[in-house]
């Protein structure tokens, strides 16, 4: 048989076809295996389930070492849908104390979850109580596919200090976006120190790497757990708060709106930071958190609003010590300079009223009697002293800057979220308001007695008391005095000095002492303790005057500085002084003297009537 060489050449076509395909496949394999990384990642995502192990959150103690916030195990009912067999729903509901309708609703909610899969664990009910857990655990064998997963909840030893302690909630989308630490389902601190010390409290999550097959079933641990990372527990906090004092201050505020702040002057440690109305921190734990939170938000008296650091109030006469200090510092007055008071300050047709006391009088008695006229004259003398400052504007800037160094007008920098700055106007503010050159001391005279545009928070007022107590310095107030394994921030250990000479503080302290011994603050006098104080009665557009008190004790070796501020409660002496002095007494003596028990009882039992808020017309 003759060979056909023409046809034999066709072997090259066939072999060429094979080689062409092989080259295409080779290029494809190169792209898949070497050029493109995404398949490696996909394979890892497929096979490795990185299971987070949550660290235990740091505990919180009060200044005396009493445990205030701790962790409590809670139990979630989990199930793997494809493993669930038909079960006795009535029995199941009895164990959990829920209705069958409730159960079917929960099943529906679970299926609506975007990450629902019938192969992976799903959460049916969260935060079971210990009793429910016990009952269910006993008969769990009757419900295949169900199991119980434990997680921790915050628990509170006292129904007090909610504003300071804060609480925890699930991290929301914003948290997750802002901090790569968080994943959906993680907890994060909300409000109080839970929020401001979140980084210390939360610890570091651990991870367990599990091997997962195509149906989502766990096949074991990767590399026998050698790549796992154990979690690091959160750090414990020690509060500067005395939880008993906090509880006492809150009880005194029941039925009123306001705040009590007590500071240890030598350290800036806040002893109590009470706000009213408050709420039981246990309301924001567990299954009912959402509903309770909504209810608290909607209450007209704003219990979630921490008045001690968020309430900006007119300081009223508690502001007068600052005026005395800066007038002395600027040389506008000497300790002996006396101003007249004829039932008030009169300038042209402007009158600022005052009450009956001796006249004329120098600075100490002026503080003692809370004389409005003295501080108005002093303020006018400073602002109108063009020879020294050039203009009222310049003089006012000097005035303002002194106040800023005393801690007014800006946030003090307390270690809690949400602090507001209060308000101290500057000359630009009045230039805008009245027109440049169109204002003088008289147009703004009310700021000299803590009225008008001036606003301060109770913590700023308490800080003034602490500064006077220290005779010229303070440490930024803070609620955490110790962090496990580390130290508190530098700023909470470093004294700050207002630009006022210490000697002038002696004069102011003396005046405040005189106010207690024979002035407006007589109600604050305690037997055996030299209390210094200053009342405040602040006019405001919301009705009755606010009642305020600030003071410290003892006079010579101060241990506590206090501000008590009660909204719309009238004279400073009616609510501010008794509450402030009771807190001092409680802290210093640990008990209330028998002769003052009636004051305590009156404070505990008296409520202030607040008109319901007017409905806004739309």
């Amino acid at each position: 048989m003759r060979k056909d060489y023409n046809l034999e050449k066709r072997k090259f076509v066939i072999a060429g076809f094979l080689l062409l395909i092989a080259i295409i496949y080779g290029i494809r394999l190169f792209n898949l295996q070497i050029a493109d990384d995404k398949y490696k990642q996909s394979a890892d995502t497929n096979a490795f389930l990185r299971k987070t192990i949550y660290p235990s959150r740091g505990l919180i103690y009060d200044r005396n070492g009493e445990l205030v916030v701790y962790n409590q195990a809670a139990y979630d009912v989990m199930l793997i849908p494809r493993d669930v067999e038909p079960f006795d729903t009535a029995d199941f509901c009895r164990a959990l104390n829920i209705t069958p309708e409730d159960l079917s609703r929960r099943f529906e909610d679970m299926r609506k979850n975007p990450s629902y899969s019938s192969y992976t664990p799903q959460r049916l009910i969260s935060h079971l109580s210990a009793e429910d857990y016990g009952r269910l655990q006993e008969r769990l064998y009757r419900f295949p596919g169900f199991y119980i997963q434990s997680r921790t909840l915050r628990q509170y030893a006292h129904p007090t200090g909610a504003n300071v302690l804060g609480n925890i909630r699930e991290a929301n989308a914003t948290d997750i976006q802002n901090d790569p630490y968080y994943a959906p389902g993680d907890y994060t601190g909300d409000m109080g120190v839970e929020k401001s010390y979140e980084r210390h409290l939360r610890g570091i999550k651990g991870v367990e790497i599990l091997i997962r097959d195509a149906r989502g079933r766990i096949q074991g641990r990767y590399d026998e757990g050698r790549q796992d990372v154990p979690p690091t527990a959160g750090r414990n906090l020690t509060l500067s708060i005395d939880i008993r004092l906090q509880e006492y201050a809150e009880s005194l505020l029941v039925g009123k709106r306001g705040a009590v702040v007590a500071i240890e002057p030598s350290t800036g440690e806040i002893l109590c930071l009470a706000t009213s109305p408050s709420y039981d921190p246990r309301l924001l734990v567990g299954r009912e958190r959402g509903a309770n939170y909504r209810e608290l938000v909607n209450r007209p008296d704003w219990p979630l609003f921490d008045r001690s650091i968020m309430g900006a109030y007119p300081p009223g006469s508690t502001f007068k010590p600052t005026q005395a200090l800066l007038l002395l510092q600027e040389g506008i007055i000497t300790p002996e300079t006396a101003y007249p008071c004829s039932r008030g300050y009169h300038s042209g047709n402007l009158t600022v009223g005052c009450h009956g006391h001796g006249s004329p009088l120098p600075v100490r008695p002026a503080l003692q009697t809370s004389c409005n006229a003295f501080f108005c004259y002093g303020f006018k003398a400073m602002i109108d002293r063009r020879g020294k400052y050039g203009s009222s504007s310049n003089a006012f800037e000097v005035w303002k800057n002194h106040l800023v160094t005393m801690g007014y007008g800006y946030r003090l920098g307390i270690d809690m979220p949400g602090e507001v700055r209060g308000f101290i106007p500057n000359s630009a503010f009045y230039d805008k308001y009245h027109g440049p050159g169109h204002w003088s001391a008289n147009s703004i005279i009310s700021v000299s007695i803590g009225q008008g545009e001036v606003l301060a928070t109770p913590v700023q007022i308490a800080n003034l008391a602490a500064t006077v107590a220290n005779r010229g310095w303070f440490i930024t107030p803070h609620v955490v005095k110790g962090i496990q394994d580390t130290v508190i921030d530098e700023q909470y250990r470093t004294p700050r000095h207002p630009d006022i000479d210490a000697k002038f503080y002696d004069i102011v302290a003396e005046g405040m002492r005189m106010a207690v011994t024979g002035g407006t603050c007589r109600g604050a006098a305690l037997s055996g303790i030299e209390v210094c104080g200053k009342t405040g009665t602040a006019q405001n557009p919301h009705g009755q005057d606010h009642s305020a008190f600030m003071g410290f004790a003892p006079y010579h070796d101060p241990k506590i500085a206090v501000c008590a501020y009660v909204e719309n409660a009238g004279f400073g002496a009616t609510f501010g002084v008794p509450i402030g002095s009771l807190v001092m007494e409680k802290y210093l003596n640990d008990s209330i003297a028998p002769e003052r028990k009636y004051i305590e009882a009156r404070m505990l039992n008296t409520s202030v009537y607040y008109a319901p808020p007017k409905k806004k017309s739309k």
Binding site: L18, Q33, A43, A214
Partner: protein, 492 residues
């Protein structure tokens, strides 16, 4: 025959065996067994049982396959030639009976259960068909192109098993026989048929893949295919017009004129040109001109481009219809390969997971038994049709390249063996074996790396399964026997 009356001994057969093929065969079968062990190995030590299942069973299949190979080597070549038609007839009968006696396994009735074994007759029909086709071509002075009847007989031999296997609902195994067109091509069938097939595939792919975007109001795929058809007419008119190049030139001038008019209308005059009728008009005019020239110059060859154009256009417009005729899962598989659908939970799942498995192997692979994709059962059918995944994941690019090279070496060797055969019988049979292997290689690896629709056919010598292994062993060892005795049968 008489000239070489030296008593043929077994020794001489083994001396003449093509040992290179045997070494490649043994290497591939061993690699296959190791891969199957890896694919069915479980992280969980408790299920060593499944290892015993697949890997152990495959070892038994391999040993028996070697036995079968040895027996086949001992049979006289003449027996194969003499009984080729008989073997083919028996296999056809077996294929015919299979759907009636086979149990329904995943919708197909192709497995015959014999005690502890189940076998797929379709795998064995490959060698029977190859023998029959070889026998046909070994007829005295048989030439494929001599008369149309020869084509009919060849096509009958090829198509009979295809039809019977389709009845068993084993589309993949049936399509394998289409590879035998390579053999027909080698034996004289016009290259136009292969070209037409390639062009048909192109038309199918392009018109389905690019059916969304519009060009001149026509689906982009259709429009550009019509342009391509016009271009092919032009080229063919040049080839078939022989020395009458002016026909080709006139056609070209006509095209340029039309293109200019279209561009002017569209770009300057802003008159919308309806792409479909215009292109059909141009092709129609070109065909009419060529037909006219064919008659005027008495060159009937010029009808070839005309026929090509007409058939292509008809095919183009029947693609959508044909596609709709496919079953839903087949449509999805095609769309997934063309990137039109993701369908990661359905048709795209296998391919996506197998791409992840292969892609995650990198250059050197994750190491033997370290593959997570395959161990954790992300890839379905990983020990059978998707065995290439395990190799890709655990042995990396080096592993896949080595497997590719082994296949290329084996197939090229078989083509070499084919061409050295003194008889048409040997040559045609060898080409049949090469064609089957080319088809399996291209389609199996193509589907695993996502370049081919998923057609369930195994990777020869690697995939788990006795039928496939035995089928290819029989094909190969008959070839080796024929080749070993080539020197003793110089001529009849």
């Amino acid at each position: 025959m008489r000239l070489l009356r030296r008593n043929p001994s077994e020794e001489s057969i083994f001396k003449n065996l093509d040992w290179l093929t045997i070494i490649l065969y043994l290497a591939m079968v061993c690699c296959g067994a190791v891969s199957i062990y890896a694919a069915s190995y479980d992280f969980d030590q408790a299920s060593m049982f499944s290892f015993a299942e697949f890997s152990g069973k495959q070892m038994r299949w391999i040993l028996m396959a070697l036995g079968i190979g040895l027996v086949l080597l001992l049979i006289e070549t003449r027996i194969y030639e003499t009984y080729a038609y008989l073997i083919y007839a028996v296999m056809i009968l077996l294929l015919l009976v299979t759907p009636f006696v086979a149990p329904d396994i995943k919708g197909s009735r192709s497995w015959i259960v014999l005690g502890p074994m189940s076998l797929q007759p379709a795998e064995f029909a490959k060698s029977a068909t190859a023998l029959a086709l070889a026998r046909l071509f070994s007829g005295y002075n048989f030439k494929l192109n001599a008369k149309i009847g020869n084509y009919a007989r060849a096509l009958l031999i090829i198509c009979l098993p295809i039809l019977l296997i389709l009845l068993q609902k084993e589309t993949g195994s049936a399509l394998v026989y289409l590879a035998l067109f390579f053999v027909l091509y080698r034996e004289g069938m016009s290259g136009l048929v292969l070209f037409a097939a390639a062009f048909a595939v192109t038309i199918f792919v392009v018109s389905i893949k690019y059916s969304e975007a519009l060009v001149l109001g026509t689906p982009a795929g259709q429009f550009w295919l019509l342009v391509a058809i016009a271009f092919i007419i032009l080229v063919m008119s040049g080839i078939y017009g022989k020395n009458r190049l002016e026909v080709c030139r006139n056609l070209l001038l006509g095209y340029i004129g039309c293109a200019a008019v279209i561009v002017i209308l569209e770009a300057w005059a802003k008159v919308p040109v309806p792409g479909l009728p215009v292109m059909l008009g141009i092709i129609g005019a070109a065909c009419a001109y060529l037909a006219f020239e064919a008659m005027r110059t008495r060159l009937p060859r010029l009808f070839v481009p005309v026929a090509t154009a007409v058939l292509s256009v008809v095919f183009l417009f029947s693609v959508d219809m044909a596609f709709d005729k496919l079953q839903y899962h087949q449509q999805m598989r095609i769309k997934v390969v063309l990137g039109l659908e993701q369908d990661l939970r359905g048709a795209g799942y296998n391919v996506n997971q197998s791409k992840i498995a292969i892609g995650s192997g990198g250059l050197t692979g994750k190491g033997f038994l370290e593959g997570t994709q395959t161990k954790l059962k992300y890839v379905p059918e990983q020990h059978t049709d998707f065995i290439f995944c395990t190799i890709g994941e655990e042995e990396g690019f080096w592993g896949t390249t080595l497997v590719e090279l082994m296949f290329i070496a084996l197939i090229l060797r078989i083509i070499h063996i084919a061409e050295r055969q003194p008889t048409a019988f040997g040559r045609v049979y060898a080409y049949c074996v090469a064609s089957y292997l080319i088809f399996h290689f291209c389609v199996n690896i193509g589907m695993v790396i996502g370049l081919c629709p998923v057609i369930g056919i195994p990777l020869p010598f690697f995939s788990y399964g006795g039928s496939s292994l035995w089928g290819f062993t029989i094909l190969l060892f008959i070839l080796l026997r024929i080749d070993a005795s080539r020197k003793r049968v110089l001529s009849y």
